[in-house]
Symmetry: C2
Amino acid sequence: MTTEAQASAPRPDIRILTEAQLRGVVSLDLETIDVIENGFRALAEGGVVMPPVLSMAIAAHHGEVDVKTAYVPGVDGFALKVSPGFFDNPQLGLPSLNGLMILLSTKTGLVQAVFLDNGYLTDIRTAAAGAVAARHLAPDVETAGVIGTGVQARLQMQAAHLVRPFKRCLVWGRDAQKAKACAVDIAAMTGVEVAVMTEIAPLVAQSQLVVTTTPATTPLITADMLHDGVHITAMGSDQAGKNEIAPEALATADLYVCDRVSQCEVLGELRAARAQGLMRHTPPELGQIITGVAQGRTDLRQITICDLTGTGVQDTAIASHVATRLGDAGTVISA
Amino acid sequence: MTTEAQASAPRPDIRILTEAQLRGVVSLDLETIDVIENGFRALAEGGVVMPPVLSMAIAAHHGEVDVKTAYVPGVDGFALKVSPGFFDNPQLGLPSLNGLMILLSTKTGLVQAVFLDNGYLTDIRTAAAGAVAARHLAPDVETAGVIGTGVQARLQMQAAHLVRPFKRCLVWGRDAQKAKACAVDIAAMTGVEVAVMTEIAPLVAQSQLVVTTTPATTPLITADMLHDGVHITAMGSDQAGKNEIAPEALATADLYVCDRVSQCEVLGELRAARAQGLMRHTPPELGQIITGVAQGRTDLRQITICDLTGTGVQDTAIASHVATRLGDAGTVISA
């Protein structure tokens, strides 16, 4: 068939990497945290195109799939990330969260790589974002607290410890056995003393940094728990109705920071606060704090909260970072 | 690391297919047309979840990327399709349109296959949709006309000929050389006599079926060109501002049918008509005509128009069809 556009150049090869191969290429370290920080910086500096998350529910199978993407000027590739969450999977012996990332050329739209990461890259870019928030909003951390006992509870503490080498960690979870297992893992990952708490209030009271990593739909942290100097990062699963921090706590804080305001209004803590008529102002974004466009913490006694819903910019940042480190890993497919 | 959800079952292998391998697995034939027709039927029968298209423009590189998906009850997999269009690519010797489809399990969200099709599956599912429209709205076709000279001009005539074995084909394009090349190809593909027309009006006048396949933003077919019995399918590229059929022509037709009303309002011919205050009613969808829920053509002399913007259901239908025919084609990646 004669086509009107005579293609003369061959398409470049496509690299396919599995989760195991990706784990060998990139890990949660200071370089990854810097890569994600640069993503937030780019988001604040303008020129980023980041459409709203595409979300599809498959109620019949207790599942949903989210798709995120973002174009970042100056970065050669852009990621398109597919995150399915199917919550009956554990009954089948499968993890609930899976998915992949595709890296495409920003110049030609051609597929460069497919990262069959089962959510691994999301895990580390999410943890890295928590570390970026801690770096800019939690100046002095001797004790870090984590609420929730899943993969992110572990990774958030690992990442936070890289930028704020705290001496002690406190863990709270609904299930005491899971909290204990989580504490053992965090101790092994960070080398610090880790204790399991049976109540949230004393965990917050003793911590200078608290990270919430749950799918809670009724607030876990209330305004009365806040104390001078505490920083809280809320990064729990961002499904409809999610709410980890009480609206009054958001309003009480000296500074509330979003990763992306337009997302936090829909998927983040801001949603519930706005629904109660609170937080009518437009909060600053983390990238604006990083670049100095917006004012961050100005006093050690201030109470700060950062709301992380996860952005396509983080995905483009981590996927592009992976691309620079591939070496000869993975399977090459000739397009 | 101890994770809270102990995964005991291994993830199934993932199949990766290139465009060349996919061309060996599936082609534009009556079976493909039936598969797409069943997709339209499912869309009308309810239970389909089809979120709005995710669209991101990368203006700096004259590019855009669209993502479509749909869950169809009763189908084991759902497709997520990534369609980049980068319009400076021909200067680099590369085609403008590329992309891939991912097939995921509707039960677990696990990735089943990655089809690196460079748009091939989109090409055939789009042509098949044209044939479905012809089957249900163009009862008697002796001469078929096509406006535009690209890949879809060829494939639309090939597909239409499978369901309506017309004797003669007319081609119009802005570029006479391209129109001639297109005519040669259509003659070879269908075996019918094909003539190049220098004006659109006589092409429409002599045809019982007309398919428009252009990126026009000012109407090519006007109300005065319509004649008794003609059916027009508008399937040209669905970018912002696209308009192939004059609003007055839409309003003049006895029946105007959408593939999906919510998409045609934004991306289809309906947008321009509504902007002029015309076509205020909710038109029927092609699936409703197929299932008999809405009335189709009731008289050979009626003028009918079908507006095809392309749906995620078509992508899920074609990708699932491919999955049933894979045999041992492609590369197997152990997740």
